[in-house]
């Protein structure tokens, strides 16, 4: 956002340097893991760790999308309510019984959700690029819109999956595992691999970074800034939809509070992962690590008995700042 200036003066580059910056979030995570083990030995148990990783799926997947938006110099505050909206419409679709056969229905519903997500992203993208309004305002607006639509669809209550057999069929998408690895963790990995490929290995990814780094230069180089930015919002929408696909089988319902504050968590994960909010840098794996860090902090809070219930928020806030300090001091090598 701000901070457009790079202090060339103080950061010199060497290979060590680059590596450190990329590993910094992982080091912060390792420190947290050690801390958690000290606080409560149960923490490092395989079950607990799998739980934590599995839960981090929603934020991780959404944050991978946010990595694109932010790298391209945008911002999306609407992802939380977009999740609720996509989940709500998807469940309503499944409840409508529009398709015969459970498996067919489930597949169609998934495609439907992806479509809704992409459309939501498209709306955000077009409004920021063609309307030329600060993404902060646009997505704050759509945040209200998606949330209100969900409430409207739920008529103030919640939208729950009705058919029990469909639910049973869908359940393994969150609770199942393949060779002992929970499905959501596999989904994170697949999404991150595709995203990393897209961002680092394709010309689209290159253009994303260029647009975030200097819009004018990108434009002069024949890159359609509007197209690239809009595409990042669509990717964000798709990621939200994928997160929803994993989310719905877990709780089987969408409520007006679904996805509340996920936008802040997603952005935090992105920043902890080493992506700069001003754009021009994108680190997919760092983002995933950032999402896991957030989830681990929450987990440690529940497992520990150190602080009063009232103060958990304070400790959580402090840990995130400290994690960031660890990260920064590492990447500055001083």
């Amino acid at each position: 956002m701000s901070e457009t200036t790079i202090t060339v003066s103080e950061t010199r580059r060497s290979w060590k340097d680059v590596d450190l910056r990329a590993v910094a979030p992982f080091v912060a995570l390792a420190v947290l893991l050690a801390f958690g083990t000290i606080v409560n030995p149960n923490f490092i148990g395989i079950d607990n760790l799998l739980n934590v990783l599995t839960r981090s799926a929603f934020i991780a997947i959404i944050a991978v999308g946010a990595t694109f938006v932010i790298s391209a110099g945008g911002l999306d505050l609407s992802v939380g309510s977009m999740s609720a909206f996509v989940a709500g419409t998807m469940i309503l679709f499944m409840n409508s019984g529009a398709v015969e056969g459970n498996l067919a229905m489930l597949a169609t519903a998934m495609v439907f959700a992806m479509g809704v997500g992409a459309l939501c992203g498209l709306a955000n993208g077009l409004t920021t690029t063609i309307g030329r309004i600060e993404p902060f305002i646009v997505t704050l607006g759509t945040m209200g819109i998606f949330r209100a639509l969900t409430i409207y669809l739920a008529e103030g209550g919640s939208i729950a999956m009705r058919a029990p057999d469909l639910r049973a069929l869908y359940r393994p998408v969150y609770f199942g595992n393949i060779f002992g690895v929970p499905v959501p963790i596999l989904v994170i990995i697949v999404v991150a691999v595709i995203a990393a490929f897209l961002l680092y290995r394709t010309s689209f990814g290159r253009h994303v970074i260029a647009v975030g780094s200097n819009e004018d230069v990108a434009r002069y180089s024949g890159i359609s800034v509007e197209r690239v930015r809009t595409l990042t919002y669509i990717i964000q929408g798709l990621c939200v939809a994928i997160a929803v696909l994993v989310y719905v089988p877990r709780l089987g319902a969408a409520t007006p509070t679904t996805g509340l504050l996920w936008e802040l968590q997603a952005i935090t994960a992105v920043v902890i992962g080493g992506t700069a909010l001003r754009g021009g840098v994108g680190r997919v794996w760092g983002t995933v690590c950032g999402a896991v860090i957030l989830e681990v902090v929450g987990n440690i809070m529940v497992l520990s008995d150190l602080v009063s219930e009232y103060l958990i928020g304070a400790v959580q806030g402090a840990i995130i700042i400290v994690a960031m300090l660890v990260q920064r001091s590492l990447s500055r090598r001083r």
Binding site: N51, R55, S158, L251, T258
Partner: protein
């Protein structure tokens, strides 16, 4: 007496407004009292800001090994499955306030009665006001709010009570103040106000006071916040009654659950607390000056 080691987990919403604050307060207080009473007892209280994180907390609590779970779920639809998972591990489950979609999961159900809260308020209006124009300030658009609203609507159905407008006050004093100010600008005559929660009533009263309007005869809150109970006890003109919905129900649930382990009496079934109508006559019974709510 031999020492018996029991671990009970309490999972409740974070203290994000007055009533939930009261729940956390009573849970913490009951924890201290009960742990003192039973040396082997360990009670772990965890709060969560939303349904998804409550599901997380349930997983985390279960991994630590617990004997019983006392939970006030954010949302029944969402949390039925996560609580079922806890149950499947052989844990005794007590559900407070919001019944699960599948009631077979809960060993014990201790509840306030949300539709009843709305119904009692509506009934009182119907009986005491007869005819008149009412404005409603709802809480947040979630199930509890919907249930209370439904109960209210059913109670006044067919009467001459007319609902002029309904808006959300988000269970916040500030938002209720704002909505009430706007109602006062919008409607030249309002006979009564029903807001679902005493926190919001604070804002409503202040807005009425500022506007110097004399047409409003009644403000009905709910949930039994101590300041409001005091008003009722003192015979306040504008606020003669309150409808109880005590956050202390969490303590009741905890006590019952503990009894199940220590008093050798199996405790099962449903305990539905009344949405008691608090009037000047019985107000002193419900006034707890030390409570934060």
């Amino acid at each position: 007496q031999e020492q018996k080691n029991v671990t009970i987990a309490v999972s409740i919403p974070a203290a994000d407004h007055g009533w939930t604050g009261g729940v956390v307060y009573h849970a913490e207080r009951a924890k201290v009292a009960l742990e003192k009473l039973h040396p082997g007892l360990k009670i772990v209280v965890k709060t969560s800001p939303d349904g998804a994180s409550q599901a997380n907390a349930l997983e985390d609590l279960t991994t630590q090994g617990i004997d019983a779970l006392v939970t006030l779920p954010h949302n029944s639809d969402e949390l039925t499955d996560p609580i079922r998972q806890v149950k499947d591990k052989g844990v005794f489950v007590t559900v407070v306030d919001r019944a699960l979609s599948d009631p077979s999961i809960q060993d014990l159900y201790v509840a306030g009665n949300n539709p009843e809260l709305g119904r009692v308020a509506g009934q009182y209006l119907k009986d005491n006001l007869g005819t008149g124009d009412v404005v409603v300030i709802r809480g947040l658009p979630i199930v509890i709010d919907e249930e209370r609203q439904k109960g209210f609507d059913e109670a006044i159905a067919g009467s001459n009570i007319k609902v002029l407008d309904k808006q959300f006050g988000n269970w916040s004093r500030d938002d209720a103040f704002r909505v009430m100010q706007d109602y006062l600008s919008k409607f030249p005559k309002i006979d009564a106000v029903w807001c679902q929660d005493d926190d919001m009533a604070v804002g409503v009263l202040e807005a009425i006071k500022q506007a110097n309007r004399s047409d409003i005869k009644l403000v009905i809150g709910g949930a039994g916040m101590k300041e409001m109970i005091k008003k009722v006890a003192d015979g306040d003109q504008l606020m003669p009654i309150n409808v109880l919905y005590p956050p202390s129900m969490i303590a009741t649930a905890l006590e019952l659950t503990v009894a199940n382990f220590y008093d050798q009496i199996p405790v099962r079934g449903s305990y539905v607390l009344d949405a008691t109508l608090v009037t000047k006559d019985n107000a002193n019974e419900f006034y707890f000056p030390d409570s934060p709510f």
